[in-house]
């Protein structure tokens, strides 16, 4: 069993001879990996996501509200099928529970699809890519001194005649493609970012927007359907027995009073869900994201020449493109195995240890390395990261009148660098308001659209770098074996210059 590249032989010919004997892997033998079970990529994923079923299911970290959504839908539909359907199928037609069942099935299917799929997360840059970008930026800026925090980096492109600014993401170390945005809750850049929806427990982006839209649309139909037939049931029963008698009549009383309460709940949920569907229908027909609409990126108020470069011109094409267009694949390959010769992705700017280890892999000269590490130390000092535990954050940030559920949402309130004028618009528009009238949740939702600052998670003053770099340490241990061998090889190369 040859030890692979770890022994760091100084002569290249000896090294190449060793790797000739290894079976299939050209660069390093995976012997070390075979001793411990090979890891899948989701296990070392740098974003703040939860994975289930061995990487098949991907959700945001906070899933409490998603379970609430599930419970609400199941309980409402359950009550409807249990109490109203028997009476209605007798009195009117058995098609009612059938259609209700189909709608329910559709709602659950699209909800689970939205919640469990990858919204279009962009993988973080490999160390080589990040280094290459840094080099290009330094050339463009004309200076390479590391004595100050570099200014926000932007690139301008012209798309269909409209100038669009691409911002550099310090966490993911990439220039974000147009329409992409960094979600601070999930700590990922997401393509065609719409918003982070706590109700589905995931971001809504390019890959799951159509599922999200079908979910809210079918849920609107379901709630209207249930509401209408509950009212019908109440009316029919009261016609049968007389309105007041219906209240007094004990065997019928339970379903009747339940139905009354039920319809009140339904009434509020109908208007909020229908409102949200209407809003998203408008967004789809104009090919905008919630993010763009809130910021007024393409509104005429910014200037007469301002128009949406992504729109196809007519409503029908926009709708078809959004809903029936091709579904792009997941870019993060959650279930793939980590290859020993693949460089690990660059962690967030606070993870100095991880970056330090991967730096030696890239073929930069020593001086550049010093400059880069200095830059990152300064960046890290200037941009403390969001807490990984929400409980710590909610303690440390005193916020007026937020409920504990909206704790993580509330943390963003402080951190939002978006202009204040954009915030109030959400209340009426998105109607991310509730199925049950938890009005406090309103304010929580306003701030869930992520900011566009170049240091996305970094605006919170209370983040503790120590906690996060500890997390990075844990993560880096997993990849430390391959990193170690790669860094040894890198050092061998450097020393042979």
């Amino acid at each position: 069993m040859t030890p692979g590249g770890g022994s760091g032989p100084m002569k290249d010919c000896e090294y190449s001879q060793i790797s000739t004997h290894s079976s299939s892997s050209p660069m390093e033998s995976p012997h070390k990996k075979k001793k411990s079970a090979p890891k899948r990529k989701w296990e070392v994923f740098p974003g703040r996501n939860k994975f289930f079923c061995n990487g098949r299911i991907m959700m945001a970290r906070q899933t409490g509200v998603f379970y609430l959504t599930l419970v609400l839908i199941l309980v409402t539909s359950g009550l409807f099928f249990a109490f109203d359907c028997p009476y209605l199928s007798e009195k009117i037609t058995p098609a009612i529970p059938a259609i209700g069942g189909i709608l329910f099935f559709f709602v659950m299917g699209t909800l689970l699809r939205t919640s469990f799929s990858d919204p279009g997360v962009l993988p973080r840059a490999t160390p080589d890519e990040a280094a290459d970008l840094e080099r290009q930026i330094d050339i463009a800026n004309g200076s390479s001194s590391g004595g100050y925090r570099p200014p926000p980096r932007t690139k301008e492109v012209i798309i269909n005649g409209q100038t669009v600014k691409l911002k550099y993401c310090f966490t993911c170390k990439i220039f974000r493609p147009p329409r992409a945005s960094h979600c601070s809750l999930c700590d990922n850049c997401v393509e065609r970012f719409d918003h982070h929806c706590p109700w589905v427990g995931n971001c809504v982006g390019k890959r799951n927007y159509r599922f999200f839209y079908m979910f809210i649309l079918s849920l609107s139909f379901l709630t209207v359907f249930i509401f209408a037939f509950v009212i019908t049931h109440v009316i029919l029963r009261s016609q049968q027995t007389g309105f007041l008698n219906a209240l007094k009549d004990s065997p019928a009383r339970y379903p009747f009073t339940e139905n009354c309460r039920f319809s009140v709940v339904c009434f509020f949920s109908v208007w909020s869900i229908v409102g949200l569907s209407g809003f998203h229908t408008y967004l789809i027909s104009s090919n905008q994201t919630t993010n763009e609409d809130i910021k007024g990126s393409w509104s005429n108020k910014r200037g007469k020449e301002n128009y949406n470069p992504y729109s196809y011109g007519n409503i029908f094409t926009n709708c078809c493109a959004a809903l029936c267009g091709p579904l792009s694949p997941s870019l993060i390959d959650r279930r793939g195995f980590i290859q020993p010769d693949t460089p690990q992705l660059a962690g967030p700017s606070n993870g100095i240890t991880m970056y330090g280890a991967t730096q030696s892999q890239s073929n930069m000269c020593d001086q550049d390395q010093c400059i880069q590490s200095t830059k990152f130390v300064l960046q890290a000092a200037a941009t403390p990261l969001l807490q990984s535990e929400p409980s710590i954050t909610s303690e440390e940030l005193p916020l007026p009148g937020k409920t504990s559920i909206s704790g993580p949402c509330a943390t963003l309130t402080l951190g939002q660098p978006t202009p204040p004028s954009s915030m109030p618009n959400l209340t009426s528009d998105t109607g991310l308001t509730d199925m049950i009238p938890l009005k406090e949740e309103h304010e929580g939702h306003q701030f869930l659209t992520p900011e566009e600052a170049p240091s996305p998670p970094g605006m919170l003053p209370s983040g503790s770098p120590i906690t996060h770099s500890h997390t990075m340490h844990v993560l880096s241990l997993a990849s430390q074996d391959s990193l170690h061998e790669d860094s040894v090889r890198g050092l061998v190369k450097l020393s042979s210059v």
Partner: protein, 165 residues
């Protein structure tokens, strides 16, 4: 006196990585996946401009085909919607089929054109569809000093890597 690298395996075995060149995305058409056809200067001595541009243009056309919005994609979308998207559990999407074609094409290009010149293309899918990564390898010889000439010219932009052997 340095042996020419003739296959991918030989390339990996006998050559070491000198530097990597990244071909960035071209966003002038919107969010569709297209790569810049601008010829990177580091490849000047390694490969003919035409061959490289041909590769990138073919890749661009593959991606355009994958993302094409037309009759068949609408049909697929509507069918999927009608089944509450459960059909994606058993069916491969059009995009995935094209991606497989792309992967085959890249492998073929590597074997025929790039590996013999000491280059290696990485599938953009592995890099988040952001870049086409081209790895430049240097021949490693026990006796060769003639490779030092080529290595210094092509790794000039990339910073110190492997010294000429």
């Amino acid at each position: 006196c340095c042996p020419q690298v003739h296959s991918l395996q030989e390339l990996r075995r006998s050559a070491s990585l000198a530097t990597k060149v990244f071909v960035q995305r071209d966003y002038s058409d919107g969010t569709t996946c297209q790569f810049q056809t601008k010829f990177p200067p580091e490849l000047d001595s390694r490969i003919e401009r035409q061959l490289f541009e041909e590769t990138v243009k073919t890749l661009n056309s593959f991606y355009a085909e994958a993302e094409k919005i037309g009759g068949s994609s609408y049909l697929e979308g509507c069918l999927a919607c009608a089944t509450a998207y459960f059909i994606f559990l058993c069916m491969e999407t059009h995009y995935e089929k094209v991606l497989k074609k792309i992967s085959k094409y890249i492998q073929e290009q590597n074997e025929k054109i790039y590996a013999p010149r000491g280059l290696l293309l990485t599938d953009p899918l592995e890099r988040g569809m952001r870049v086409i990564e081209i790895s430049i390898y240097e021949d490693r010889c026990s006796s060769g000093s003639s490779s030092s000439g080529s290595s210094s010219s092509s790794s000039g932009g990339g910073g110190g890597g492997v010294g000429g052997r």
